[in-house]
Point group: C2
Chain length 336, copies 2
């Protein structure tokens, strides 16, 4: 709570207005600063997201996931080159939820992407979780909104590893590419991690290694077990290092975009939007609650909670059912 | 939402009262059923947790984490035997957030624990995430409360893998044991995953393998980098298969319990309790919101959200700032 108050000092109203103006003018410094404010959950940031929301919805959002060492970053580099050759701007968000304490960015990936680092049509950013459990999915969601609203044609969300957070991050993508490599038991790993359920396209990278064609066959078999009337995830052999197979991957990405356009699943889209709305409401309630607990009437409740004498389930219910107190709690808006 | 309504049918008031009576009588069938209701987030379950809360706070809660294949289950088996020999009852919750779609339990682990399966002083349960993103930490929290309240002397929370969800599950433990094995780069993996920051005790399992002593030295070096006036995580060599080192592990667990008792960190405990309270409030608000959106006035808002025409950030703020509507939304309590 104190942390948030401290961050609050960073977001004076004028400052945020200036950042939003810069953002709308296409100033990357303002974009970078807004992303940092999202990472820190600075008070006022939801106002900023509210303001830029009308600019969103135009980017093509791709998700790239798969186990560490599968060569995802090299592939992303190739995709950047492919989209740039087609004159489209690209933003990359590299998400590493497995390093919650380091606070460091996915530096290796950033270095490997330096080939495009000076290209003004490319923007690369890393996101690690910095200890705020469960916060990565949310930060990724809001950062994708910023990148989309800023005007990038393509937003690539790349994850390191295949845990639950990575899977939830992939919900943000219109098309999810699962990258595998021909090594012992990899198709089993894919199944075990539930990746077969989210893959729109499979890539077998490092395809010159032994077992690549067997893995391809296994993935095709697995993909064929899904409903036969929908999209059939293709399995594409690539060699990230030489660029072989990238044209086919680009083409498959194009086909999936066309498929989505032709077969819009309104029910699924609706579920996603409703889930997002529910998340935003509860997050905002949580932040107002934190501010409420930090002072005055709320700090007395906090003191009782913190000494462990209060039954938290009962206290929560009683707070929610006390309309007057809830009204006071919910009016603990951040200053903007 | 519809799913929840369907589950609702399972928790008639009388039924839940009967389960709570059974729970208080020590009936394991009632315990198992309540755990299932927690997993399904059945409406009314927070009332049940509120009622059993006064019974909690007595169990010793241990966390066991580390990469797949480190031999955690074998160690847990040994710990069960150790605590049973000391006449203490033990519950194990095996958490596998990496299989969100399978719906299956960590069957292998359960089979390996069958040695204790018929012992009435031992209770073993698995938890996988079943597609509800972010829900595993919460379910684990509430299940630990149930196991604690039921009266188990020791509750062991074991995770498979080392992702962000696993780390957040370890927040539930008073003492966290990080299990490693002497294989290439394992101390680097430990650092990379942030495990050094949560470990109260390190175990180097499969200690007859090459590199065990080097890994021990590396972990001790890493542990020594922390603040020198606090608890120094010991590094214990074990062989799960033969049981060597288990006595030392039991002894280290005892020492850490004594340390915690002597050095209670009220500020950290307070933070944890306040975080828990905030979570319970926002989760309950989220559930009431879902019920509100499912019918009447709320369903009109939901329809607008779902068609994508509404700015979700603005809609969330407007809902929260409309006191009368919030009052109607928050009164969408589950029937109990």
């Amino acid at each position: 709570m104190i942390e948030k108050a401290a961050h609050g000092a960073l977001v004076e109203t004028d400052n945020l207005q200036a950042l939003l103006s810069g953002f709308e003018r296409g100033d990357k410094g303002s974009l970078a600063r807004l992303i940092t404010l999202v990472e820190n959950r600075a008070p006022g940031i939801n106002h900023a997201l509210e303001k830029i929301y009308s600019l969103t919805g135009r980017a093509r959002v791709l998700g790239i996931t798969g186990a560490t060492g599968a060569g995802k970053s090299t592939l992303v580099n190739r995709l950047i080159a492919g989209y740039r050759a087609a004159n489209r701007t690209v933003a990359v968000l590299a998400v590493d939820p497995s390093s919650p304490f380091s606070g460091g960015a996915v530096l290796g990936d950033r270095i490997r992407m330096t080939e495009h680092y000076r290209d003004p049509g490319v923007y690369i950013r890393s996101l690690s979780s910095r200890g705020s459990h469960g916060g990565v999915s949310r930060a990724a969601r809001d950062i994708v909104k910023l990148l989309d609203g800023f005007g990038f044609d393509v937003v690539i969300v790349e994850t390191v590893g295949v845990g639950q957070t990575e899977l939830s991050v992939m919900d943000l993508a219109q098309t999810t590419v699962v990258v595998t490599v021909p090594e012992g038991g990899d198709s089993v790993q894919v199944l075990k991690a539930g990746l077969n359920e989210i893959a729109d396209i499979f890539v077998v990278n490092k395809a010159d290694r032994e077992g690549a064609h067997r893995l391809k066959a296994e993935l095709e078999l697995g993909a064929g077990l899904g409903p036969s009337d929908g999209w059939q995830p293709p399995v594409i052999l690539t060699k990230g290092l030489t660029g072989e197979g990238i044209d086919e991957l680009m083409s498959a990405l194009g086909q999936h975009a066309a498929y989505l356009k032709a077969h819009r699943d309104e029910s699924r889209d609706g579920d996603r939007l409703q889930h997002e709305f529910t998340e935003i409401v509860t997050e905002e309630v949580g932040e107002r609650l934190s501010r409420f607990l930090a002072q005055g009437e709320g700090s007395k409740i906090a003191a009782e909670v913190r000494c462990g004498k209060l039954n938290p389930y009962r206290a929560a219910r009683e707070l929610i059912e006390d309309r007057a107190m809830m009204a006071r709690m919910l009016s603990a808006a951040d200053r903007f």
